[in-house]
Symmetry: C2
Amino acid sequence: MKIIVDAFGGDNAPLEILKGCAQAVDGLDIDILLTGRKEEILRVAKENDISLNRMEIIDAPDVITMEDHAGEIMKSKTNSSMAEGLRRLAAGEGDAFLSAGNSGALVVGATLLVKRIKGIKRIAFAPIIPKKDGCFMLIDSGANVECKPEMLCQFGVMGSIYMQKVMKIPNPRVALANIGTEEHKGGELQHEAYAMLQKTDLNFIGNVEARDVPIDAADVVVADGFTGNMFLKTYEGVAILLLGKLKEIFTKSALNKMAAAILLKDIKALMKTMDYNEYGGAPLMGCAKPVFKAHGSAKAKTFYNALRLTKAYVDGDVVSEIAGSVASYRESHGQESAEDDE
Amino acid sequence: MKIIVDAFGGDNAPLEILKGCAQAVDGLDIDILLTGRKEEILRVAKENDISLNRMEIIDAPDVITMEDHAGEIMKSKTNSSMAEGLRRLAAGEGDAFLSAGNSGALVVGATLLVKRIKGIKRIAFAPIIPKKDGCFMLIDSGANVECKPEMLCQFGVMGSIYMQKVMKIPNPRVALANIGTEEHKGGELQHEAYAMLQKTDLNFIGNVEARDVPIDAADVVVADGFTGNMFLKTYEGVAILLLGKLKEIFTKSALNKMAAAILLKDIKALMKTMDYNEYGGAPLMGCAKPVFKAHGSAKAKTFYNALRLTKAYVDGDVVSEIAGSVASYRESHGQESAEDDE
């Protein structure tokens, strides 16, 4: 398997990315096609004694920064490492593309360069998030601010396939993020999406309240991108607040420091399970070929995890499964539903 | 001052409510008008040796349960303690109404029995929520699932007045909950609300991301009810998850238990600052007279806090301030904006 890697995406590029790739070549038995400034990649690899065994480099002089507008990938930054990687994926030069760069640009670039699976209305950004035990997928978490009911329904289908094929959860519970569990809760979007999800053969368990999601309400939580982003960012914010407050307590006095030292190992393990970077990142669901987003702050280990999940995304044959599911839906519904928005 | 109290709202009615009221009569120097089953109130007070000094009782045979549909307050439950309390408030028999009962029914009942301030489009449910230091108001947190931009603008105005007059925060920072800080973020609702809020004389600081709210992004966070509810419930869910995980760590081994014992006092204090029940509840903003919602699980102390805040709601003259602000807005805008939805 060959994975195309954006060597210049994220806060720690290219050093940490090269480190993660070098580990993955052996650990995951993969080949890698790096995109980015070739000379800099060679220099950094040499300086840090990183082997480039089984790695090929495609020179791409430009870099999309976190501050760039998403659309720049198709305008001023067509020679960027991200655009180049997506083009190579579209051309069949690799099995998947992984970037830790600008999420918005990645969604725009993937949509326009790699295209969507036939019948899929929108590409969704779908992070894997820790819950009480294990994890769940939040789809969409921000790629599509305004959604139609059918998009939400498709998010449910795609999320279910991913959790089954990649995260190995049999018969994933799919739920709609809502402000109450009763069927009539929410607005028009939720009502219509609920009705559509109910008609699928998904294991649709109805509405879930945000309060129950972190405990264990569902394996796939479906939301429009605005709601999903709100959920994700609140999740992060409250975790940051609470862990910050704990730190204050732990360092308040000599006695507290002593007690904290005893608990340190377990607290660190907790913080690790709560850190969604540990899951490596988020797949872009609905692309015609696997595209995966690693967290912007990913270091070598997280990037290695992202490569592992990208490989599983390919191995799970998720794209074909989604394409098949959408095709059979279109057949049984006389194709009427997938024509607009193409 | 006389506060009308729903003696049969919430999980711990009437005992904990009577206890809270008895403390408040002395502690806050208020008179109370209780609504509910008179015989039961008298019996519970007697059995528990609770003084009913400065309390009057209006008999109301019915109770709105947490399971009742909100609309029942105007249909099968017109003789409920909640409906009776709201009618007495409308009739001028008290200065404010406080209930720990069904939030939805309270919003419907307040809208139809107490009415809105002239020009205000919707009553909003606006809890006070702890942040890193102090607290902020989230308005709306669920009363209005679908909102128009002008409603959001009014929420900002009302929230600002409340935080100034009741919570004593000078020049409160008002922000719009959004998925990014840039002006172009979000959907149509956010774009239009942003433009309207910018034209007010509020201390409008623009968009805030949910991640930053728990730290200290703003004093008033404006959202449509769907988004606000999503934020509130996620906040609760993540806090429950993290505190549950901590408890596991603290009881994992004898050594951990010892360490936890040292930290216990500080951890408990943390949990208290993070518990939004401690703030007593949520005002209903936009009613023509002060209506306050205590948390459903309120015990005597929380109910006392709710009475304290209800008193401050009256003392702050919040309703008149809002009415004045809306009137001057209507004057300067030729009244064109407040005619629909009345």
